[in-house]
Symmetry: C2
Subunit: 360 residues, 2 copies
Amino acid sequence: MNDERPAQTVATLGEFALIDRLAGALAEVGAAAAPDLPGIGDDAAIWTPTPGTRAVVTTDSLIAGIHFQLDWTGWRDLGHKALAVNLSDVAAMGARPRLATVSLALTGGEPLDGLLELYRGLGLLAARHGVTVAGGDIVASPERLGLHLTVIGESWPEADGRLLTRDAARPGDLLATSGPLGLSAAGLKLLIESGRVAHSSHDSRLIYTLQGTTHDYLAAHHRPEPRIAYGRALVAAGVRAAMDLSDGLFGDLAKICARSNVGARIDEAALPVPASLRARFPADWLALATRGGEDYELLFAAPRVALDQLRARYAAQGLPAPALIGEVLPMPTDGSPITLRHTDGSEEAIGGGAFDHFRG
Amino acid sequence: MNDERPAQTVATLGEFALIDRLAGALAEVGAAAAPDLPGIGDDAAIWTPTPGTRAVVTTDSLIAGIHFQLDWTGWRDLGHKALAVNLSDVAAMGARPRLATVSLALTGGEPLDGLLELYRGLGLLAARHGVTVAGGDIVASPERLGLHLTVIGESWPEADGRLLTRDAARPGDLLATSGPLGLSAAGLKLLIESGRVAHSSHDSRLIYTLQGTTHDYLAAHHRPEPRIAYGRALVAAGVRAAMDLSDGLFGDLAKICARSNVGARIDEAALPVPASLRARFPADWLALATRGGEDYELLFAAPRVALDQLRARYAAQGLPAPALIGEVLPMPTDGSPITLRHTDGSEEAIGGGAFDHFRG
């Protein structure tokens, strides 16, 4: 049967019917939606902070053509990722996410089915982390789709208000990550290389099939997993300095160095890059792992004793062991704060690596 | 002296220098900026909720060409308004605003001076209400400027967790507003009519001068004042049902009716529309006041005794007296929930009036 009926879009459905349908998509996947989804309920969403906690708030936006390509990204993955990058910021603070608001900037041409899938992807991740989707708004954006999310969290009940920050790294601390580096950037690279194929489908499952063995890279790129439990365990172990890796190891580490007024040395040999990735990208793996971005693993600094304790704790909880990647040093009097020690023992000063959205 | 040097833009300055400059603009006007303005501090902003309070969160986006015209709107006014519309939502909950995050979607072509002015306008309003500008992010938006703000507030310390909601109106309550209606819509109408003049300048002061006596309307449109103190006083007086007027009286009242499961009658003769506005727009004043939108006054429902008490309280605090505009009725079994009683005593059923961003 060939159903030629055109797909229903935002413009044909209208704003208020859309809001009802989006609320339905959340309910369908078991996500707790406040009664005040965009335009319904009250002027603001209400929640009760847990007494004695400190609260955190983070905002991240994803713009079509800049942060994602609908040609490459399935709608459900997009919903997952839009929330995941915000939850990752909460994880990096060692906090518990509680509430998300979603502001949709829509062209009006978006297919209803796509937006419902987006909300299902977002809702599934929210439900898994006990996050309430608590409203937001919908605005017209004539040229391109934009997703603007804000997530509010609070310190874990057992943490006594303690959170992780970027300014608490101290010389002598070891540097570690919660997981492997470079997978997401490898996935993006493959997507760009396979442009012709990817453009022929809006279904990321097809891309996965076509790419065969590269599934892990694409999954890392499309469906990053916020390290909520990992961040919680860091706080419990007494770690104080952390952030999440969104702009690439060197770019993000530079932010810890600047805020903590320290330097750092990274050991190339210690970088947690899977052998399969090194083999697939022999010329690029180091760049993918250190400047690629969107790993959404946690980067943290802690004294050796705390890390030993962490290993035991994480093993007991089934969390991956921290990957030691280097050491925090005193801030150098001149030059780059970051040094890369290559496998041959030579050391390279690392220039500024943070991506500037306006200077490329 | 004719300085031909081209204005510095986001693209020439770069993202990170821009962030520093924006933080400086906030400091300059006395606004409390968290150390974590976009891209500087931590992954998330931190604050401590006041014990025993309930928290509220609201998001509102403003998109160039949709919600504002840079040809008509000064940058400083734009910063004021972007925050004001969010603070108005907090006021409507009867809550105290505490924290704002700002996500800027920039084309790269924005003049630095403009963005600094935007932050000054935003910062001045934030400072006046004790709101900390606590970060956000900056993303590229190739075609048009977008401002995506989130404001977090909490119930006032004396309120014992009480907030205002849309679902608490009861038949027999009187309906009232915190101030006049239609001024903002009149201002917008004048701006559209004077398109040629307005387009010749980015300086809204010039427009004010040219328009002469219409200053009040333009100010109402460009610089709405969130009714924070008014909302606080409503809670203190025991009022329970309120919202802010952003989509026009009929559209917003319809939301209270739907959520509270009530009907309502509005008295045309009682509408708080200044005589000068009625005189300037003899054919349109009623439409401007009831369907115009962007008044950002509070609309609330309360028993007569509470309103009498409010009058005394407001007079003592120097707040404007509530303007009685009608009455809450039982939800009719069929037809429109809202009736307009004209000055001749005839009654008109009011159709749905909420503006749909995608259906016009």
